[in-house]
Symmetry: C2
Subunit: 251 residues, 2 copies
């Protein structure tokens, strides 16, 4: 950390830590879940549309988070929410969850623990780590994010899961408590995300922001988040481009 | 993680994560603090016995932790406790803390963020990381442990600071909440420490245990913790020996 860090125009502060949305931004959750659902259906002798199953499972993600964010229910980890959603999706695909032993569905639920990284993620993170503290800023719980890092080779310096902040994005506490655990001012922390809504909430909480496009996160027909829609500090084209714009890696 | 992990005789479980006491076990706090106190006294034109100053500063560590553990005061981070102790020690060494700008003492307090690793720590941790989740299980707060890891090159997979568990060792919550954040049974988590008291408390909470001697932690005349005094799973001679006994690294 001998060179001066990137200074955020929006916060006026030098950046000390760069944190990343994870599902969609760092890892290709759809490809990973489709792959694991296919393996599950083959092993269990089921007929399921794996792509629709994956999209439906992820489709319950925001409603489940909202039930916690709204205070309608006490905090539950993302593993727990994923598990409840899985039972619901099996039911809607006309598969009786009771036909499986508990270990089978637990294993399928852990598909979220070993998702493939986008090809530029690890090279970009490795470059960024030479100058900045890097970590996820994700709705994932700590154990999910630790297992994902081990399985996928993500070189995080620190993992502050949503079960540590006890808050789900885009609530302000998710961003502010992450900065507080790092003993940083919000403006010294940058959020990198492929989702404009996430960046908007982070910016409102005083964080620096960087957009990266992940135009096939939702499959080949994606229409959302194809480009930056806000006044983010950085609009990058890839994780390695982001590293370059943050002053590390090849020019 | 293709090979089978170490199975703990005392817990009867395969070990998934190996966590480490940090001050004394991973890093040589006394050498680091003496070095930084010497630099401080030179820069400030003071006459101080740096070794006695370091020992006195560390001497307030357990009393400060106990004030939180006992419930006599609300939770405060180790950075905050170190800072209070520093003011007290300056006073007892007849140095008026008011002569310094706040940045000077803040910098001295951050000596605890960049302590030197014992020579075998990083090779041992690197070997262990190939099969186990590794992290500190320390009374340090998250930002202290993150900065130490960056400054010293400690290859942690995860950092769960005492400000995350809101508990100081040797209270049972410090061990049990660390296991819970990792979604592990206590018996799947091993504590490695150079302090028998720490291992005793961890074992009572159901963790697996390993001793490593650090016979100069307290300087050349150390009389405590020179050898294991309990029925720990492993009595190692060094961090690389520990890695070997846990099935990784050269035989």
């Amino acid at each position: 950390m001998s060179h001066s860090p990137y200074r955020s125009p929006s916060t006026g502060r030098g950046i000390r830590a760069v944190c990343f949305d994870t599902f969609g931004t760092i890892v290709d959750w759809r490809t990973g879940i489709v792959r694991d659902v296919r393996a599950f259906t083959t092993a269990q002798g089921l007929q399921l549309d794996a792509e629709r199953f994956a999209d439906d499972w992820r489709g319950l993600y925001q409603p489940a988070l909202e039930s916690v964010r709204s205070g309608a229910r006490p905090f539950a980890t993302l593993d727990e929410l994923h598990s409840e959603s899985l039972l619901s999706i099996l039911d809607s695909h006309n598969v009786n969850p009771d036909r499986f032993g508990p270990g089978v569905l637990r294993e399928l639920n852990r598909s979220w623990h070993h998702l493939p990284a986008w090809p530029d993620s690890i090279p970009g993170l490795t470059a960024l780590r030479s100058r900045y503290i890097i970590g996820p800023l994700s709705n994932g719980n700590t154990s999910l994010l630790v297992n994902m890092a081990k399985n996928t080779g993500l070189p995080w310096d620190v993992i502050i899961g949503s079960d540590v902040t006890r808050a789900y994005k885009p609530s302000p506490e998710s961003y502010l408590r992450t900065a507080a655990f790092l003993d940083l001012e919000p403006g010294e922390l940058m959020l990198v995300a492929a989702h404009n809504e996430d960046l908007d909430a982070a910016q409102r909480s005083g964080l620096a922001t960087a957009f990266i496009p992940r135009s096939t996160e939702h499959g080949p027909h994606q229409t959302s988040d194809l480009s930056p829609t806000g006044a983010w500090d950085i609009a990058s084209t890839s994780m390695t481009d982001l590293a370059r714009q943050l002053g590390v890696g090849p020019p």
